[in-house]
């Protein structure tokens, strides 16, 4: 069984976002980079299949040299292969999906795993786009995955509750928190990873179908009002204000 795990390097979730002088991109100055938390669930699922089914796992990332860090972490956790698809062009999700599809299309992966969303563009769409571009089944925002016969059975977060879906392999699966509990790398893994190489492939240009023209911070909220009195008085005052001033009740 061959598995591909697509990883995205994203700003740490505690990062305070600042806009760069160009007015349309992120100021990278103070950013600490991590692997997208959702991709960690995808990676863990791949590692479990590596152990239970002797799968061969390839980790892939799209980006510049900086993105090698996420591949290095994946190697430390035990993936056999790591590939950097070199591209400085990582803003439009369609371009990312096309880059990944171009890499994956001739390699007969049985399963492609990735997080259900990154942190950044927040379009949460690369998985489904990749599935469509490759003509594969998808299960998106998955909290449980089971491989059965020549297909899969997955649970995903739907609108009316948990959707149980069945599909064929190969498939694209996007991971949601709850799918598993990701492991940490141990020293042995980290040392072993240092001896492994990250393959680098020129990704080629992909057109951006949507481009960011301006990036702005949300408007700051005016300091609110603190309500005084005992709990009953505070409660009455609050409901009055919500109804008559804010008009939200």
């Amino acid at each position: 069984m061959k598995i591909l795990v697509a990883l995205k390097q994203v700003p740490d979730t505690e990062t305070k976002i600042k806009v760069a002088p160009d007015g349309c991109s992120l100021d990278l100055g103070d950013v600490k980079w991590i692997t997208s938390p959702y991709d960690e669930y995808a990676l863990e699922e791949a590692l479990r299949l590596k152990e239970s089914r002797e799968a061969e796992v390839t980790a892939v990332a799209v980006g510049g040299d900086r993105a090698k860090a996420v591949l290095q972490s994946a190697l430390a956790l035990g993936v056999q292969n790591a590939v950097l698809l070199k591209s400085e062009h990582t803003d439009d999700p369609t371009a990312i999906a096309r880059t990944l599809a171009a890499f994956a299309k001739d390699q007969a992966f049985d399963l492609i795993l990735l997080g259900n969303k990154g942190f950044g563009g927040d379009n949460a769409c690369v998985g489904p786009m990749l599935a469509e571009l490759l003509g594969l089944a998808q299960a998106n925002v998955v909290t449980r995955l089971e491989l059965v016969d020549a297909g899969f059975r997955a649970e995903r977060e739907g609108d009316a509750g948990t959707e149980v879906l069945e599909g064929t392999l190969p498939a694209v699966i996007t991971a949601q928190r709850g799918l598993n509990e990701p492991r940490y790398a141990n020293l042995k893994g980290i040392m072993a990873a240092k001896k492994k190489t990250i393959a680098e492939v020129e990704a080629g240009a992909q057109a951006s179908l949507v481009t960011v023209q301006a990036l702005e911070l949300p408007p700051t909220r005016p300091e609110g009002r603190k309500l005084e009195g005992d709990p009953a008085a505070q409660a009455a005052a609050l409901l009055g204000l919500l109804r008559d001033e804010a008009k939200v009740l």
Binding site: T13, E14, K16, I17, C24, P93, T94, F119, G120, D122, N123, A124, C125, P128, M129, L130, A131, E132, L133, L136, Q138, N140, V141, R156, E157, G158, D159, A160, G161, T162, E163, V164, L165, G167, T168, A171, R177, G178, L209, V210, T211, V212, Q213, L215, L217, P218, R221, G224, R225, K226, L227, A232, Q234, A235, L238, L242, R243, A246, V248, L249
Partner: protein, 322 residues
């Protein structure tokens, strides 16, 4: 034509779909375009109501093979409809289904895609959108560069406004079947009946709740206000049995209710990222220096175990949420 993929639930069009439809009507009016409301399923009973919300045409793709949701099957049906009608803009609500199927449609149509938009403009055929990025820590204004333009609208942001039109019903050809992945079963929701992302009122609890069982008092207030209960990451991670589906924040749900009541939540940057789009924020916390007070329109410094039950009592007395 602007096409809006609409979802039906129990014979009614879902509110987030009506919001998308109303926004489509506004864009169409200022550009001299028609609006088509698109329905996909084994049957589309209730679709005719789209006429009240601005649909010039009600397009139905009906087939037994579409009885159960399939991302690839529905994507095919929607993409075929876009092509058949020559639509240049396709919208849907950013529900779990909308966000599952529309990226697939966009890829199929070689169309640009933007999720969860909070603002849209259409001029000379070109769509631009405003949307939260970095989990709401910033907003991006983006432009499309493709003949077909696809976006999902964030629930609770656009207003569903009646605007009656002819709503001429037309049946479109359905895909033949043989879909790759199909929903077999839906397990009923354990917690909130309404998804957090669609709720008008959210009462959220953090570490200050001290125990999962104490969320009862938030449930009571939410019920009195016609809302649902959410939680901070601290509460979900505390091992109190609060499911991740209730988590509001950067690694949980990003919500934009009319009213967000934060109880015992300090206001960590990761939580704020998920709820700063709320119209009115109320903070109840015993620490007067908690950062959550900085973005609260109304703050109560006090013990949530005393204040919340008083709020519930007062809300019930006033008959709010009825």
């Amino acid at each position: 034509m602007i096409l809006v993929y609409c979802e039906l639930k129990d014979g009614s069009i879902r509110k987030p779909s009506l919001e998308a439809l109303s926004e489509a009507r506004l864009l169409a009016d200022s550009n001299g375009l028609q609006v088509g409301a698109l329905f996909v399923g084994a049957a589309c009973a209730g679709a005719e109501a789209a006429a009240q919300y601005g649909a010039d045409a009600i397009l139905q793709v009906q087939a037994p093979s579409l009885a159960a949701y399939s991302s690839d099957g529905y994507a095919q049906a929607i993409a075929d409809a876009v092509r058949a009608k020559g639509a240049t803009v396709l919208l849907a609500a950013a529900t779990a289904t909308g966000k599952d199927v529309l990226p697939r449609v966009a890829a199929r149509l070689e169309a640009g895609y933007a999720a969860d938009v909070t603002g849209l403009a259409l001029a000379e055929g070109k769509l631009t959108c405003v949307r939260p990025v970095y989990a709401g820590k910033a907003f991006a204004t983006s432009a499309f560069h493709s003949p077909v333009q696809v976006a999902t609208t964030r629930p609770n942001v656009f207003t569903a406004t009646p605007s009656p039109r002819a709503g001429v019903v037309e049946q479109l050809a359905a895909p033949t079947g043989g879909f790759l992945a199909v929903v077999k079963e839906i397990l009923a929701k354990g917690g909130a009946k309404l998804d957090l992302t669609e709720a008008n009122v959210i009462v959220s609890g953090g570490r200050g709740l001290k125990d999962g069982a104490n969320f009862q008092i938030l449930e009571a207030l939410a019920e009195a206000l016609g809302g649902v209960v959410g939680a901070s990451r601290a509460a979900v991670d505390a091992g109190w049995g609060i499911p991740h589906s209730m988590q509001v924040g950067q690694t949980g749900k990003v919500v934009s209710p009319t009213l967000y009541i934060a109880c015992g939540i300090s206001g960590a940057i990761q939580h704020v990222a998920g709820m700063s789009g709320s119209k009115v924020v109320v903070a109840i916390n015993k620490d007067p220096d908690a950062p959550i007070f900085k973005l609260a329109s109304y703050g109560i410094v006090g013990d949530l175990f005393e204040v919340v039950p008083e709020l519930t009592k007062a809300a019930l007395a006033l008959g709010i949420g009825k």
